[in-house]
């Protein structure tokens, strides 16, 4: 043992080229494996956190919509908000004010958002319905604080799609007590995993009954 150690100590030859190449190749393979593992884990983390973020935002959005609609005294699934709104519902609050929830991509928006605005000015729309009072439209989805870190890092933002408002007026052909509104929307922040190119986000839906 001592003799072998001494022999190595006396050996002044460097690493052979083959040894270096083999070591480099092994290191590269290991590094690529670790790197790809890291990247895929990071991506999974991003998907996970984006999913969690969208889930949370969607839940908050549902609660916000529910809070507004529950207190309404009346609603009507009718055109309102703007001529470019793709889905809208008009509702009245107990104080006599009129409001409109609508999905719209307004000037300056990169993507469609959910908006709420007041309708007390009774501004007629060319396409029918009533338009938002000037300056009253407020996005419920696109505020800067509603963008997750992941989405910010990836340069994306929250968006909605396929919003529907549906009057639930009958159950098995008989009237129900109270008035119910079915609300559905897709929410996407650009960072979630997309099953296909047609995927427009996590689908949220609820039915709320007007309490007033």
């Amino acid at each position: 043992m001592i003799a072998r150690g001494a022999a190595l100590a006396r050996d002044r030859r460097g690493l052979t080229l083959v040894e270096v190449l083999v070591a480099t190749a092994i290191f590269a393979i290991v590094a690529v494996a670790i790197g790809s593992f890291y990247v895929s884990t990071q991506r999974a983390f991003d998907y996970g956190s984006a999913q969690a973020f969208a889930q949370r935002q969607g839940t908050l959005l549902q609660e916000e919509l529910q809070r507004r609609l529950q207190r309404a005294v009346d609603f009507s699934v009718t055109a309102c908000g703007s001529g470019t709104a793709t889905a809208s519902v008009r509702y009245a609050l107990p104080d006599g004010t009129q409001w409109c929830l609508h999905q719209d991509q307004k000037l300056g928006d990169d993507f469609p958002q959910l908006y709420v605005c007041s309708l007390n000015g009774a501004i007629p729309l060319v396409s029918g319905g009533v338009g938002c009072d000037s300056g009253s439209a407020r996005s419920l989805t696109a505020q800067s604080q509603n963008i997750s870190e992941t989405a910010q890092r990836l340069g994306t933002e929250l968006r909605v799609a396929n919003t529907t408002f549906l009057t639930v007026s009958t159950v098995n052909g008989t009237p129900i007590a109270g008035r119910a509104l079915d609300v559905r929307f897709d929410l996407y922040d650009g960072a979630m995993y997309r099953v296909s190119g047609a995927y427009t986000g996590m689908r949220f839906g609820f039915t709320t009954t007007l309490r007033n």
Binding site: L8, A9, R10, R12, V30, I34, F37, Y38, T41, Q42, A44, F45, G48, S49, A52, Q55, R56, T59, E63, R67, Q70, R71, V73, D74, F75, S76, V77, T78, A79, A92, P94, D95, G96, T97, Q98, T167, S169, T170, T174, P175, I176, A177, G178, R179, R211, N212
Partner: protein, 706 residues
């Protein structure tokens, strides 16, 4: 001989342990990522649980509201008849607050069993409402009818606030969904209202017709209307055509400035309540008189439930300035919009418009807050309460199979005392130029039993000199004339009439004699309160009002209809009003028909005003109706104001003043025994509180406000 290598060189060249190092680094990185993912999962789980706890807290708060409403109903129903109140702090019946319930501040309501096995509990608070608060929109947009007490507090209105709490503590339950360290709390606020659902206390109530519509023909209804039944065939429930028909929320057609004023009706009615119409801008003082009109039409759902043409209206124009009760505030106009309207499945929007069929959009209902899309609130629809069959009623301390059983077993049977034509009085009726007519003076032991089982002596007396029909009553042990002491609504004369001709007051019953009590007009006036059950039909072909001295009592103080003077005519058959006679200007009574209610004076005659409350399986009105046929005038059905509250006037009675026999005629909901009082959360005043500071305000102002 090479020089020996340094320690550093040896370590550098020594490759042993590199795999371990790489493994450690890899494990470290993976651990970091794993921990991050785990943390993410834990956060998501926590958020999900918090969301679940929030939702549960909301539902628990709602459960607290429902519980409170139930307790309040039990308390109101459990109070002594005629003095039901949430403001009496009697310490026995709901609401029991600790300390006592009060106005201006929320007090905790004493309730047991407020926790749920699955986690969560609720705490309910109560605040009484004053008359000014109820009438005006400041600071709350209320404008509600209230039963006023001497302290100016509404006895039938309270604020109810319920806070649902879901904690992670053991007190929250082992299965509480709240994550560690999180407490979910939600607070809801409503206004609870007690009201009499009796079919005779709500303007017009229609049931299921034998054919055609529940309300056939034209009519103007001032006050509430409720249609429980479905039309036969593909017809609307209501089909009105012509000016002067529809629903209004005021007594404007009687006002001095109206085309056909009627001061005689106005002075006999209790003062109306003055309220603010709910708007975004509160009004500091009441600005309109309101009947609190609430229209509910249950069916049909597949086609238009209400069809309007030719000037028929639902709400809208304000009534002329006027007052009831004579003195008092008389400068206010009647309220224009209806308080609320509920029609079928509430289908009235851009994609669904089958609730109303109108010739012009301007004919759509004018209702508070523009809420025309409300659906009929009950499913299944309660059946119209009939007088016979399986329609139990609770009166006094007893429960009876139906109202006929109640009357047939205890009311005074005066059938033999009516003439052969079924008229009270002589063969010519209550004829002024014949002798006075009285039923026999009852024996001292009494001739009927009242709701509480006490024997009573009852008598009907007709005074030909002044045209007054008196419903008298005394206790037993005397032979004095009962007509010296007119019966009160709290202890009315109960009559069971089996005469084959039913009960008739015909035109020749009164020869046009004028009197102070009858205000110099051709009519019969009654004094006292009577509930008369007729096995056969009721026919009224003469004007009938409550008695009220003209000269000495211009405001009819103590002689108000229906709280002091009241005639209730019940029959399982038909009621006809002004069918064969023209110009019957007014009938002040509560009328119930088990089958048809027919009112159709001939064209050219005076419109008949039926004041009080009417109920029937089917209404046949003139001016376009087809049952039983023929052209005629449309009548007006006018609900008597029974809110009993006006801040500047003394209380003169409200729905609680009605006889229990009237209050017992209520629809049964979901097969439950009908109650005299129903309690509901007032629509438009439900609110989720969102206190910014974490502490709720003691009054419903600030963040948690209307």
């Amino acid at each position: 001989m090479p020089a020996p290598r340094s320690t550093l060189e040896r370590h550098v060249l020594d490759e042993r342990g590199s795999v371990l190092l790489m493994s450690i680094v890899l494990v470290f990185v993976m651990t970091l990522l794993g921990l991050a993912l785990f943390d993410l999962g834990a956060i998501e789980n926590r958020m999900s649980l918090a969301s679940q706890a929030d939702l549960r807290a909301f539902e628990v708060a709602q459960a607290g509201i429902e519980r409170a409403l139930r307790e309040l109903q039990d308390g109101f129903v459990g109070d002594a008849a005629g003095s039901e109140s949430w403001a009496d702090n009697d310490g026995v019946r709901a609401p029991i607050c600790s300390p006592s319930c009060a106005t201006g501040v929320y007090r905790p309501m004493t309730l047991a069993n407020t926790t749920f096995p699955g986690g969560g509990s609720f705490a309910v608070e109560i605040m009484l409402i004053t008359v000014p608060e109820a009438n005006a929109t400041s600071p709350y947009p209320i404008g509600l009818n209230c039963f006023r007490n001497a302290a100016n507090v509404c006895t039938n209105l309270v604020f109810v606030r319920s806070t649902g709490t879901v904690t992670d503590s053991p007190a929250g339950g082992a299965t509480s969904p709240a994550p560690a360290g999180y407490t979910a709390r939600k607070t809801l606020q409503v206004v609870a209202r007690a009201y009499a659902p009796s079919v005779l206390a709500n303007g017009l109530v229609a049931g299921t017709p034998s054919a055609q519509q529940p309300v056939n023909g034209n009519v103007l209804i001032a006050g509430s209307a409720h249609v429980l039944g479905s039309p036969v065939g593909a017809l609307p429930a209501i089909d009105w055509n012509g000016a002067g028909t529809g629903f209004v929320n005021h007594l404007g057609t009687l006002a001095p400035a109206a085309p056909a004023p009627d001061a005689e009706i106005l002075r006999r009615l209790p003062p109306q309540q003055a309220v603010c119409t709910p708007t975004a801008t509160p009004c500091a003082a009441p600005n309109v008189y309101s009947l609190g009109a609430d229209v509910q039409i249950a069916r049909p759902t597949a086609t238009a439930a209400i069809t309007l043409a030719g000037g028929a209206v639902i709400g809208g124009a304000a009534g002329a300035a006027y007052a009831t009760g004579g003195s008092g505030p008389g400068s206010l106009a009647g309220k224009g919009p209806l308080d609320a309207i509920y029609v079928a499945d509430g289908c009235q929007n851009s994609t669904c418009s089958d609730s109303y069929a109108v010739t012009s959009p301007s004919q759509l209902p004018v209702v508070d807050l523009g809420a025309i899309g409300r659906a009929y609130p009950e499913n299944p629809v309660a059946p119209f309460p009939l007088l016979t069959g399986a329609n139990p009623v609770a009166i006094g301390a007893g429960t009876y199979a139906n109202l006929q059983t109640y009357f047939s077993t205890r009311a005074a049977d005066l059938s033999g005392n009516l003439n052969t034509a079924g008229r009270p009085g002589h063969s010519g009726g209550l004829f002024a130029n014949t002798a006075n007519w009285n039923t026999p003076n009852p024996p001292s032991g009494g001739n009927f039993t009242n709701k509480n089982g006490a024997a009573r002596r009852g008598r009907i007396c007709w005074n030909r000199a002044n045209g007054v029909l008196t419903f008298g009553i005394t206790g037993t042990g005397t032979t004095t004339n009962p007509c010296n002491t007119p019966a009160t609504a709290a202890d009315p004369l109960l009559v069971y009439n089996t005469n084959a001709a039913g009960w008739r007051i015909t035109r020749n019953a009164f020869a046009g004699r004028s009197s102070a009590q009858c205000a110099g007009t051709t009519q019969i006036c009654y004094n006292g309160a009577a509930v008369i059950y007729n096995v056969n039909s009721v026919m009224l072909e003469e004007a009938v009002t409550s008695a009220c001295l003209t000269g000495s009592n211009p405001t009819c103080t103590g002689e108000k209809f229906p709280t002091n003077e009241l005639m209730v005519l019940l029959t399982p058959g038909n009621v006809t009003v002004s069918v064969t006679t023209t110009s019957v200007p007014r009938v002040m009574a509560m009328l119930y028909a088990g089958t048809d209610f027919i009112a159709r004076s001939s064209p050219g005659g005076t419109i008949t005003r039926i004041v009080g409350g009417v109920a029937a399986s089917r209404f046949c009105f003139g001016g376009g109706g087809t049952c039983p046929g023929g052209p005629s005038n449309h009548p007006e059905v006018i609900q008597a104001p029974l809110s009993g509250a006006s801040a500047s006037l003394s209380p003169v009675g409200d729905s609680r003043s009605l006889p229990e026999e009237v209050l017992a005629l209520s629809p049964s909901i979901n097969g439950q025994a009908p109650r005299h009082w129903r309690v509901e959360s007032v629509p438009r005043l439900w609110l989720e509180c969102r206190p910014s500071s974490g502490a709720l305000p003691t009054t419903p102002t600030g963040v948690c406000s209307y």
